[in-house]
């Protein structure tokens, strides 16, 4: 009896697995791309929600090449998730395609209930590494720790624990963690890799880390917050504050997007990333490309997805530093380092762990920062 149960279960599972694989394969391979493009032209329009502003430029390239109008909407990360969630629940078909960040929220709120579906366009099938295809990674964004390069020739700190010492009291700037889902995710990684953090503290200061919180990750958050951290509203303002020239005692920017360095010259900023900081020089997160499960313009959505994943479609992003295509055919910016170089220095997060621990990280943060 028990054996037959086992057997039937395993057969069932295998069949299901095979079926799903073949269905997925079918859906992707049986597509006739020319038919899709034809249908897309007939639809004539596609609606995209995006957290990155460069979409407007990419949209123009797409319109020029395919004659399909792109209605692009720029939204903040939380706004985008909220909007897709609300619209799907209300049965409103608005967006066809999203460029979205904050994986745990996306997974729990949008993918699990089936509001978003993964789609791998042909060029991604070819040039995006297999482990980045489900969900499809559009690009990586790096967030770093930066200092004023006019005042300091090299990074004035070696370990992230230095930032919790009196020398940097009231000098560290960070975008509001409560309003930045990716920061919350990143801090869960500090919890997950608490041992590495504690080891770094010990080797750097030559003494054991005294814990008041449950682990070294939370302890770091608390010490950073209690060191009179400055909460800012935007990464742009952090970069400007850090990089402004002629400052006697400039602040340090914690976890802001590296792409802000692109404006350094135009804005006359002296700013550098502490790329050799230990145990991490920052973190990265992914921007994902997903289709709405009931898109009003399904074919145009696929056509735009394909276009965005190609090197040509990615040009508006690759023309600047700080953002890296998942498509290996896209060359990195000449003034930037290749993605592998960054990947080895930056932490990211484990999605499942982040989902379970985000609230703990945020609780600790609010508790330690509030006055």
């Amino acid at each position: 009896m028990k054996r037959t149960l086992w057997l039937s279960v395993s057969i069932l599972m295998t069949v299901t697995l095979l079926m799903s694989l073949s269905v997925a394969g079918l859906a992707q391979t049986s597509e006739n791309w020319n038919d899709i493009l034809k249908a897309a032209s007939k639809e004539g329009k596609v609606v995209v929600y995006s957290t990155t502003s460069r979409i407007t430029e990419a949209a123009k390239g797409f319109e020029k090449e395919f004659g399909i109008k792109v209605d692009s909407h720029l939204l903040s990360e939380t706004e985008l998730i909220e909007r897709v969630y609300r619209e799907a629940r209300a049965g409103i078909k608005s967006a066809d395609l999203v460029l979205i960040e904050d994986f745990p929220s996306m997974k729990e709120l949008l993918i699990a209930p089936g509001y978003l579906v993964n789609y791998i366009p042909p060029c991604a099938m070819k040039d995006v590494p297999a482990d980045m295809r489900n969900p499809l990674v559009f690009a990586h964004v790096s967030r770093i720790i930066g200092y004023n390069s006019e005042k300091y020739k090299t990074a004035p700190f070696e370990s992230i624990w230095d930032l919790t010492t009196p020398q940097w009291k009231g000098k560290v700037m960070i975008r509001d963690v409560a309003l930045t889902g990716e920061h919350q995710n990143a801090f869960t990684e500090l919890i997950r890799r608490s041992d590495e953090l504690a080891a770094n503290y010990e080797s750097h200061f030559g003494k054991k880390l005294q814990l008041r919180e449950a682990n070294a990750g939370l302890e770091f958050m608390r010490r950073l917050a209690e060191n009179d951290v400055i909460i800012m509203t935007s990464d742009t303002r952090i970069a400007e504050a850090v990089g402004k020239k002629g400052q006697a005692d400039p602040p340090v920017g914690f976890f802001y997007v590296y792409s802000k360095h692109r404006d350094a010259e135009a804005k006359n900023l002296a700013i550098s990333a502490a790329v050799d900081l230990k145990p991490f020089a920052g973190y990265y997160y992914n921007i994902y490309l997903q289709l709405a499960s009931k898109p009003p313009h399904p074919n145009a959505a696929k056509a735009l997805a394909e276009y965005l994943m190609t090197p040509a479609g990615f040009t508006p992003w690759s023309s600047d530093i700080g953002i890296y295509a998942s498509n290996t055919a896209v060359k990195h910016h000449p003034q930037d380092k290749p993605w592998d170089w960054w990947e080895s220095r930056l932490w990211t997060y484990n999605a499942d762990f982040a989902i379970r621990n985000r609230a703990i990280a945020l609780d600790t943060w609010i508790r330690s920062t509030s006055k």
Binding site: T56, A90, S94, V229, I231, K244, A266, A359
Partner: protein, 600 residues
């Protein structure tokens, strides 16, 4: 009871007032009480992102953990008690300061021989018309210290003195900037109360031998006091729900109030805790309403409107006249032209903080979308940016529609409440129409969102429609126009309508031929405030807008988020101009008076 008798009774009782009030009560119940119930439910439910903090649950399960966490958990102090204390301090100080400024100005304008009264009254309303965080932006621009980096404030630039954190950010500037925003409230309410004090009363007192201070103490104060206290309470409750200013000025020193805590938890996808905060805010608002209705009850017993005597009662300022006038003018310029000017200039700077003339540009107004200029935003200047123009159009439509709905409903409510005064119906209607006022905007917005996100029975899902925004704004601003309606109707004796009834006029005819013509100026005044409020609303609509229904204020959020202030400021300048222009035009053409809209 046989049916004939029953229907007969119904028909006898079904006066137009009764039918109207029943209908209005039903509508308001759905739009005010149901969202409240939805919110209460949300605090007992596990939401998708919360299910991992509450082990073994699935989204939608029943839970008590949100309440436990907020009141007893290890973080209750920082999640609830500290923000609560901060909120109370902030609202109390702010409303008292606002009433002091407003009351003093009102007294100067109404009761003394200060010159340029008209000019002062006009200017004193402007701070309320501007978006409230205009003031905080101006404060930062002026008094910024190096804490948040970037360029230093104008004060430090000129004097070289580095201001301490407590002066640049936190409670002190929050209280001051909010008081500056809300003092026009006190100014309008108290000046109308002062105007309504029949100077014959004072004259009689003086004839009987009372000294001036004695008259002030025994005659004027008691008559004005209900209005003063009522204003303090109203301003206090506004303070509870304000989000922009505390977030902007409190953020740099990590000062949390309830509204910022609510916002942080809502956008942090923790609606369970967020709605506990929201309910608490509503509860506090309810207490204020209760106290206010006690006061209003007291106020109703004064009949003060009768013929007015001349201006004999004016206090002469004598030698103090010019210094006082100059002081008042300087103050008014500081709270109107300077903040507006700062925004306007900032929208012209190619690189924010660089005010040199050679770097002035119209790029953010009319420039092409270019990623190589200035902020490298790749956004077209606001006057040629289709997204922003569409948003501006939406804002105008919202403002006009909201004003019309509010104006009509407000007058009807005023009519029924006054005509049925003393009945339970009137009491319920009065309280119900005032309730939205006390709901923190952002909480009310999210409750309406929960209500209309999916179709319920015959009512379809309204998410993504302008209708939803109009409903939200109309309900939220209804108190303005219903108060205006009530106070206006109180001034019309029932004799007029009774005479018309005797002459055989139907209800509709009485309304259109007697009531409405008499109320024209009040009616239009009741339109103005909802219009202005809708034009500059952000907290209420921030969760309700969708890509197709973006508003001028919400569309600027993304610019603010990215630190692209010149765009934000340019849009703000447009909004302020549009609102000022409307106020001015409607006063010229329709004789409206903003003060009536607040319902003094």
């Amino acid at each position: 009871m046989n049916p004939q008798v029953f229907f007969g009774r119904v028909r006898r009782n079904a006066t137009p007032h009764a039918i109207l009030s029943a209908l209005l009560i039903l509508c308001l119940l759905y739009l005010v009480v149901v969202p409240l119930a939805v919110m209460v439910r949300e605090t007992f439910v596990v939401h998708p992102m919360e299910r991992f903090q509450i082990p073994g649950t699935m989204p939608g399960d029943f839970t008590l953990s949100h309440w436990k966490k907020m009141f007893t958990g290890s973080s209750a102090v920082s999640f609830l008690y500290k923000p609560l204390l901060n909120t109370l301090i902030m609202s109390a100080c702010m409303s008292i300061l606002a009433i002091l400024i407003g009351g003093l100005l009102a007294w100067l304008v109404v009761r003394t021989d200060i010159p340029c009264k008209k000019f002062i009254s006009n200017l004193a309303i402007v701070p309320y018309i501007m978006p409230s965080w205009t003031m905080s932006l101006a404060w930062i621009t002026l008094f910024k210290n190096p804490r948040i980096g970037g360029s230093v404030g104008l004060f430090q630039y000129l004097t070289g003195v580095t201001l301490p954190d407590w002066f640049s950010y936190g409670m002190l500037p929050i209280v001051i900037t909010m008081a500056v925003h809300y003092f026009p409230f006190g100014f309008m309410l108290i000046s109308s109360a002062l105007q309504n004090v029949d100077s014959q009363l004072e004259e009689s007192a003086e004839l009987l031998g009372a000294s001036r201070p004695y008259v002030l103490r025994k005659v004027v104060f008691p008559l004005v006091m209900p209005a003063v206290l009522s204003t303090v309470l109203l301003t206090f409750s506004r303070g509870l729900g304000t989000f922009g200013t505390p977030s902007f000025l409190g953020g740099p020193v990590r000062l949390y109030v309830l509204s910022t805590m609510l916002h942080a938890n809502l956008v942090g996808q923790r609606p369970g805790i967020a709605y506990v905060v929201a309910l608490l805010m509503i509860l506090m608002g309810g207490l204020v309403l209760y106290m206010d209705s006690k006061l209003l009850g007291a106020r109703k017993s004064y009949v003060t409107i009768s013929g007015k005597s001349g201006k004999s009662g004016l206090v002469s300022l004598g030698r103090a006249m010019w210094p006082v006038t100059v002081l008042v003018m300087v103050f008014l310029v500081c709270v109107t032209f300077i903040p507006f000017g700062l925004l306007a200039i900032d929208s012209l700077t190619l690189i924010p903080g660089d005010y040199s003339l050679s770097k002035m540009t119209l790029h953010y107004w009319i420039g092409p979308p270019d990623i190589s200029i200035g902020l490298r935003a790749g956004e077209a200047g606001i006057l040629r940016n289709p997204e922003i123009l569409r948003a501006l159009g939406n804002s105008l439509r919202l403002g006009v529609l909201t004003a019309l709905v509010c104006g009509v409903l407000g007058m009807l409510i005023g009519y029924t409440v006054v005509r049925m005064r003393g009945t339970k119906f009137a009491g319920i209607l009065d309280q119900l129409s005032f309730m939205p006022y006390l709901m923190p905007s952002i909480a009310f917005g999210s409750a309406l969102l929960a209500l209309f996100a999916v179709g319920r029975g015959p009512i379809p899902s309204l998410y993504g429609t302008l209708t939803l925004l109009v409903i939200a704004c109309s309900v939220k601003y209804l108190p303005y126009s219903s108060r205006a309606g009530v106070s206006a109707m109180m001034q019309i004796g029932p004799e007029l309508e009774e005479a018309a009834t005797m002459a055989g006029a139907s209800w509709l005819k009485r309304m259109t031929r007697v009531i409405v013509p008499l109320q024209k100026s009040s009616f239009f005044s009741g339109l103005l405030l909802p219009f202005i409020s809708a034009m500059r609303e952000l907290s209420l609509v921030v969760l309700l807008v969708s890509p197709g229904t973006q508003l001028a204020t919400s569309v600027t959020l993304k610019f603010t988020d990215k630190g692209w202030y010149p765009y934000t400021n340019a849009v703000m300048v447009l909004i302020v101009i549009a609102v000022l222009f409307t106020t001015w035009i409607s006063r010229k053409l329709l004789g409206t008076d903003l003060a009536k809209g607040i319902g003094g």
